[in-house]
């Protein structure tokens, strides 16, 4: 048994150690310079106005919100299964009701017949985005209205898919910088879905809180990896080309919409813990510390996949994540909008952690699948990651005032 004195001594040395670590961290932040430097420390300030809570995102438009709008700190993905017998007419009623809910909630008002309208008054950039699975589209307008890419992805060798995170007829994505707002909106939308559909799965994700770091900073996933560097920039011609779909004939309803691939990717932090920083960077092809490619000095530097070491090997391994995921064909570009998840573990584990990989692209088959096929064949990161959920949805275009999301398919 240890004495009190020994415990005290341990506590002190532990504290000294942490202080030392903090000092190194601060030094590192300074050394990084402009790329990822933090603003100088300052006293906490009272926010007397609740400015961020009052922020709203416009609901109406050519495209749905929650795709090219700034990414919020919290997101909940809801996958619903349609009830038997729900037909086209029912679907139109459902989408009218859900659209009305979304529009009111995003404006910071209670939904119609909201039992807790007081919770709706802090939208904090709330967005609600809807997606359709193949069965919904078939029931709405028949098989010919289903885009060719709308359905399960091809089976990949790395997959260990669980039904509890896969598929779905109706997708609702609720995101906000405020978790209370998300909870209320989710509850309202699910109540109003209940006559038409039941909840099949729910996936909650988070990123840095609003204001914790400079807006637009590339997120780090829970491997500590800077994740999403090469994303197209919303508002650019490249983004529009990558993301927005153009349908024709029976799929014309999708014009102005897009597709969502949602993959739940478990990250094995226990085995990742065994990997030292150099090896982690080697697996990714970017330095973990700052996200710069191994051939560059800044996150924004383009990787040089041809650069070689003195020994004649490429600096970036041909099986590093960024080498395998880079486009081979110029069409193979996707727009990612990922979130972390971290839920209660089962058994002896101390964590159940991963990434809600979400990518938007005009055409899943042409843009997403070839990348995923290469990653399936070889990617050093596969050592520590396992896709355990997978779903593909068609994201209909936005609606005009007076319309509803999905009206191009259902009206």
């Amino acid at each position: 048994m240890s004495s009190d004195a020994t415990d005290l001594g341990r506590g002190l040395s532990r504290r000294r150690f942490l202080f030392g670590g903090a000092a190194v961290g601060a030094g590192a932040a300074v050394a990084l310079g402009v790329d990822r430097a933090l603003p100088p420390s300052r006293a906490a300030e009272l926010d007397a106005a609740g400015l961020n809570g009052a922020r709203t995102v416009a609901f109406h438009g050519a495209h749905q919100c929650g795709i090219d709008t700034p990414i919020a700190a919290h997101a909940t993905y809801l996958g619903l299964g349609l009830r038997d017998g729900v037909d086209r007419e029912d679907l139109a009623r459902m989408m009218r009701v859900l659209t009305d809910d979304a529009e009111r909630l995003m404006a910071g008002e209670g939904a119609l017949a909201d039992t807790e309208p007081e919770l709706a008054t802090v939208p904090a950039a709330l967005t609600v985005t809807f997606g359709f699975g193949p069965q919904l589209v078939r029931r709405a307008a028949g098989s010919s209205a289903v885009p060719a890419w709308l359905g399960p992805l091809p089976a990949f060798g790395i997959d260990a898919l669980e039904e509890q995170w896969s598929g779905g007829d109706l997708l609702i994505v609720v995101s906000s910088d405020d978790a209370v707002t998300v909870a209320h909106a989710v509850r309202m939308l699910l109540k109003d879905s209940r006559s038409f559909a039941s909840l099949a799965w729910r996936q909650d994700g988070f990123r840095r809180a609003y204001g914790s770091e400079v807006s637009g900073t590339t997120m780090r996933n829970l491997f500590g990896q800077v994740d999403g560097t090469t994303n197209p920039e919303p508002g650019t011609a490249e983004f529009d080309q990558v993301v927005w779909a153009t349908g024709s004939g029976d799929t014309a309803w999708l014009t102005g919409g897009t597709s969502l691939v949602l993959r739940r990717i478990r990250m094995n932090l226990d085995t990742w813990d065994e990997v030292d920083p150099t090896a982690r960077s080697f697996a990714v092809g970017r330095r973990i510390a700052d996200g710069a490619p191994l051939t560059g000095s800044r996150e924004s530097d383009p990787p040089d996949f041809e650069a070689t070491t003195a020994a004649g090997n490429t600096v970036i391994s041909p099986v590093a994540h960024i080498a395998r995921s880079r486009p081979v064909d110029s069409r193979e570009v996707i727009f990612r909008r990922g979130y972390n998840y971290d839920v209660a573990p089962s058994g002896e584990g101390v964590s159940e952690t991963g990434l809600l990989f979400a990518s938007f692209q005009a055409d899943v088959d042409a843009q997403f699948t070839p990348i995923q096929r290469r990653l399936d064949q070889a990617d050093l990161l596969n050592t520590w990651t396992t896709p355990i959920g997978s779903a593909v949805f068609a994201i209909p275009p936005g609606c005009a005032p007076g319309g509803f999301v999905g009206d191009t398919l259902l009206a």
Binding site: E89, M94, L112, D192, D407
Partner: protein, 167 residues
């Protein structure tokens, strides 16, 4: 039912419903009575209720005396009052609801409401229900109320009264 129209917003479609004069109305020019966010609780059959906010934009007191809809055999105007035992009870509003100029009558769960008796066919979520409001002077306002699923607005609610299943 299920005749889907596409209003700008559920409920808000009826936000401005012009007061229409019946033949025996007074010669005075009417103002407007506006109805905001009208909605009706879904129901398979039996009774249900309708809600919304009625604002009297005229310069006279108006009195809501009746309401009617094709989806139910009768609509009563109900008020909710504390009863002698400390609970709440609902009863028909004698003489209707008077709304002073510029005032708003709020019809809401747990408060004043329109009681639909004898629902003739299922009212389903997202349906649009036409309701005609009649005022004391004989004038009417047509309202389109949106049907929403709603667990509250039980005509008689006694917490714990049906707890045989529990401990």
């Amino acid at each position: 039912m299920n005749a889907v129209r596409t209003p700008a917003r559920l409920g808000a479609l009826a936000a401005v419903a012009a007061l229409t004069l019946s033949a025996c109305a007074s010669a005075d020019e009417p103002g407007e009575i506006t109805v905001t966010d009208p909605w009706v609780k879904t129901a398979e059959s039996g009774m249900t209720a309708a809600f919304g906010e009625l604002t009297n934009g005229t310069d006279e007191t108006v009195v809501l005396v009746a309401a009617a809809s094709a989806v139910s055999t009768e609509i009563q105007l109900h008020e909710t009052l504390s009863d002698e035992s400390g609970g709440m009870s609902m009863s028909e509003k004698e003489g209707g609801f008077a709304i002073a100029p510029g005032e708003t009558l709020t019809l809401e769960p747990g408060g004043n409401h329109l009681m639909l008796m004898g629902v003739t066919e299922p009212i389903e979520a997202g349906d649009i229900v036409d309701v005609t409001l009649t005022f004391e002077d004989g004038s009417t306002v047509d309202v389109t109320a949106d049907a929403k699923d709603y667990m509250g607005a039980q005509e008689s609610y006694a917490p714990g009264a049906e707890m045989e299943m529990g401990s």
